[in-house]
């Protein structure tokens, strides 16, 4: 595909703005830029066709199966988009006076009520713009809490080695030393390892439950109790909340604060990499530390971005929450778990689950043996799925499983889709035994073959140049 710049023709343009209807003013010479920015010059028909061409080479969850583990790629409802596009929401200035934004307040208040109820928390902020941003906010709450008590010796955050990379990165951004503790074989917390590191230098623990291999940690009450006893707080990484929402609440597991990815659990679209929204909830004693906008509020507060956050994303999430309601929320969780177990069981017999037990909303295949047998890697299987119209699972994560493929079908896939996917896996399993070379060079029907990522990193070309 040509780049948009390669379609540019000097002097070509769209007619967007009228002539200026007031006297023209010029900037003083010394403040002016020397020449107009070299943006592409195109007509509207060129633009329309360019972006149509690009979108034909994108696979969204509304277009097909997308079992990308830990990303909760559930269907993104159309009504949510329609609600967020209402001029009554989309056209509101963030600094409009309070009496003019009663509807926006109602959105945040209602969403907050739903999410507090789901998580078992007391307060909620929508300022964080993404999951990692929410983690950052959550750990800052912990830091503020200790600081406010003058408890300054707490310099460590405990993170299991099975955690997402954002957890340790977040702790570091908050100035904490990261203490990695090894997980048990099933990815659950090793209680002895935990006890060994707990002490009065521990600010808190970051944990996701169900964990990254899709297993619910049975010892969760004991874990949070131990951390609290040591004076630390417990942070819940909401990445896997879809498995348990409406069934069991992080607040009841003993967690003090939590972030959620509205663009995963609450069905707002991810836009090819954002915008998301990382709502953060906390127990009442942490509420005073929730972030606020400086320009919108009095007093000193933490603040992690301007204004009130990705508001229109919250509108979408609220439309989803209102739709599901008290029965729909646990129904979604139960069916996410059912779908994961069903797909795992259907695949079993060919590729092997890393853990042979009931899983939560996702499961991990370990392809180490398979690779030894056939020479076909997890990557090769992933790329072969592309040829068959299925987005590959998460590859090589979690780190504790070798040749891992992590599948999360979500509740919005039908039995038929799962059956078809299982059939594709079965075919690939056989193909690996009969024609491994085809898989090692996949994809064959995609727009491109495998990209040379090494060259991309070694000799970075990060922009087009004429």
């Amino acid at each position: 595909m040509k780049l948009i710049f390669e379609k540019s023709v000097p002097g070509r343009r769209c007619s967007i703005l009228p002539r200026c209807d007031v006297e023209e003013v010029q900037l003083p010479q010394e403040l002016r830029r020397q020449e107009a920015p070299a943006l592409p010059e195109l007509s509207e028909v060129d633009l329309s066709r360019h972006y149509t061409e690009l979108c034909q080479h994108v696979h969204g969850v509304n277009c097909g199966f997308y079992p990308l583990g830990s990303c909760t790629m559930k269907y993104n409802p159309r009504i949510d988009e329609e609600m967020a596009a209402l001029p009554g929401f989309a056209g509101v200035h963030p600094l409009a006076p309070e009496h003019a934004v009663a509807g926006c307040r109602e959105v945040l208040d209602t969403a907050s009520r739903y999410l507090c109820q789901i998580t078992g928390m007391d307060g909620m902020t929508f300022q964080p713009a993404a999951g990692a941003h929410g983690e950052f906010t959550g750990v800052l709450l912990i830091k503020q809490y200790h600081d406010a008590r003058g408890d300054h010796q707490r310099t460590k955050i405990i993170v299991p080695d099975s955690a997402h990379g954002t957890n340790p990165a977040t702790a570091a951004m908050c100035g904490y030393q990261v203490v990695n503790i090894p997980s048990a074989a099933d990815g659950c917390v090793d209680l002895e390892a935990l006890k060994a590191v707990l002490g009065d230098d521990v600010a808190g623990l970051m944990l996701t439950n169900p964990n990254t291999v899709g297993i619910f940690d049975e010892n969760i009450l004991e874990i949070t109790r131990l951390v609290h006893e040591a004076g630390g707080l417990c942070y819940y990484d909401g990445a896997n909340l879809n498995a348990v929402m409406g069934i069991v609440r992080p607040g009841d597991m003993g967690f003090d604060c939590i972030h959620m990815n509205l663009h995963k659990t609450f069905a707002t679209p991810h836009g090819g990499g954002g915008p998301g929204a990382g709502a953060v909830g906390c127990k009442a004693f942490l509420e005073p530390y929730l972030p606020q906008s400086a320009i919108l509020s009095e007093g000193e507060h933490l603040q992690v971005r301007a204004f009130n956050g990705n508001f229109l994303v919250v509108v979408k999430a609220l439309a989803y929450l209102l739709t599901l309601g008290r029965e729909g929320i646990p129904e979604a969780a139960e069916n996410a778990v059912l779908n994961a177990n069903y797909l795992m069981r259907r695949i079993q017999g060919t590729f092997q689950p890393a853990f042979d037990r009931i899983c939560m909303h996702e499961f991990v295949l370990g392809l180490e043996e398979f690779k030894k047998e056939t020479g076909v890697s997890a990557l090769d299987v992933a790329k072969s799925l592309i040829d068959r119209g299925i987005h590959p699972p998460t590859m090589y994560f979690p780190l504790i499983v070798h040749e891992a493929l992590m599948l999360e079908p979500t509740e919005t896939e039908s039995r038929e889709t799962l059956d078809q996917a299982a059939e594709v896996f079965r075919q690939l399993y056989q193909l690996a035994h009969t024609d491994p070379e085809t898989m090692r060079t996949a994809p064959h029907n995609a727009q491109i073959g495998r990209p040379d990522e090494v060259q991309a990193a070694r000799n970075p070309i990060l922009r087009w140049q004429a």
Binding site: E53, C55, A96, A172, M173, G273, N339, R415
Partner: protein, 439 residues
Amino acid sequence: MGSYVPSTPAQRQEMLEAIGLHDFRQLYRDVPEEMLLRDGLDLPEGMSELEVSRTMTAMAARNTAYSAILRGAGAYDHYIPSLVKYVPAKEEFLTAYTPYQAEMSQGILQSIFEYQTMICQLTGMDVSNASVYDGATAAAEAAAMCRDRKRRVTLISAAAHPDTINTVRTYCYGTGDELRVVPVKDGRTDPEALRQMLAGGDVSGVYIQQPNFFGQLEEAEALGEIIHQGGALYILGVNPIAAAILKTPRDCGADVAVGEGQPLGMPLGWGGPYLGFMATVQKHMRKLPGRIVGQTVDSRGQRCFVLSLQAREQHIRREKASSNICSNEALCALTASVYMAAMGPEGMAEAARQCLSKAHYLAKALCAIPGVSLRYPGEYFHEFVTELPRVPEVLEALEQHGILGGLPVEGGILWCATEKVSRAVLDETAAVVKEVLSK
């Protein structure tokens, strides 16, 4: 009653049985019995689509709809071309995840590569990332980028947006670094104060906003010289519409250019989603946080695009990463690209000139009213502060005309005029102000 679960109750039962279970609760046998939510959620029943539509449309109607907006202060009401609304709403772009699988995501990857290039062309810088959350976090990420072992202090102009200052302060609080605020003189960053604050040799980076919060144009090039003389790096926060006609960050000597991308086609949306853009010069390329898309070739020798330089990122570096950002604002970056391409170089410059001209027209009309005057003497782009009495009455009267007036700031008003406001509305505004003040 709403549900997006496609499998029918009968199918679900069969599926349960296929995995050897009889009811859903058995799926949760690892969860300690006493923790299960026995009485369910204390929430209303689910709604049908019609009810959701009715309920939320009613909420939206509770907000005041203004026919014209003369308020900026970090969020700007520009005209959004129709195509700019349409393209990012295509469900392929909208409902994809981060493009981890390049073979299935070339459309997104190419769109980001194009965005990166446009940001470079707008700012004059060499390298852009794929976006961060907003302008405030872009400033905070840039401050982190500039820090090294020896220099840990960040400076920020008091004329920056209050939310930017507070966000940078919060990020500094996280890492335990210090933020100091450079005072303002006559509505602009005080160059002498800046020079003195750099004297200690402990400053890593200085953030200046152009135009600044009061709409004033900073002497950005001169400030850059002072900053570099002080051994610090220069972070320039720019308004992307102004950038089409203002001296580029590169020409002002900036090491990192950042900004709030909302004016590039994003609706006001009560504050979000917005777009933080970040660009830097070649030598700081590997310090740039967040996602970056790079060009390479595929196994068939075709040009293609991939997420690149991932060794910088949190999933590789874990606690050694300087930022944890992964999801960014990709769809907003696409929106900005479509906007910049639809406007083109001439359209962008025209939009900027019209903002400039209309703001000056409004300022002149207001200052012709007895009791109204400009607070600051310097050049400005599309925002300016007037001194005037009876601020609440003025804003109330404008609201009666469907106009959202400027932002009240310490006894004055910070006004903003964009290309979207017609001369008729500007005249009407002046007339309303005049009437209120003559009462």
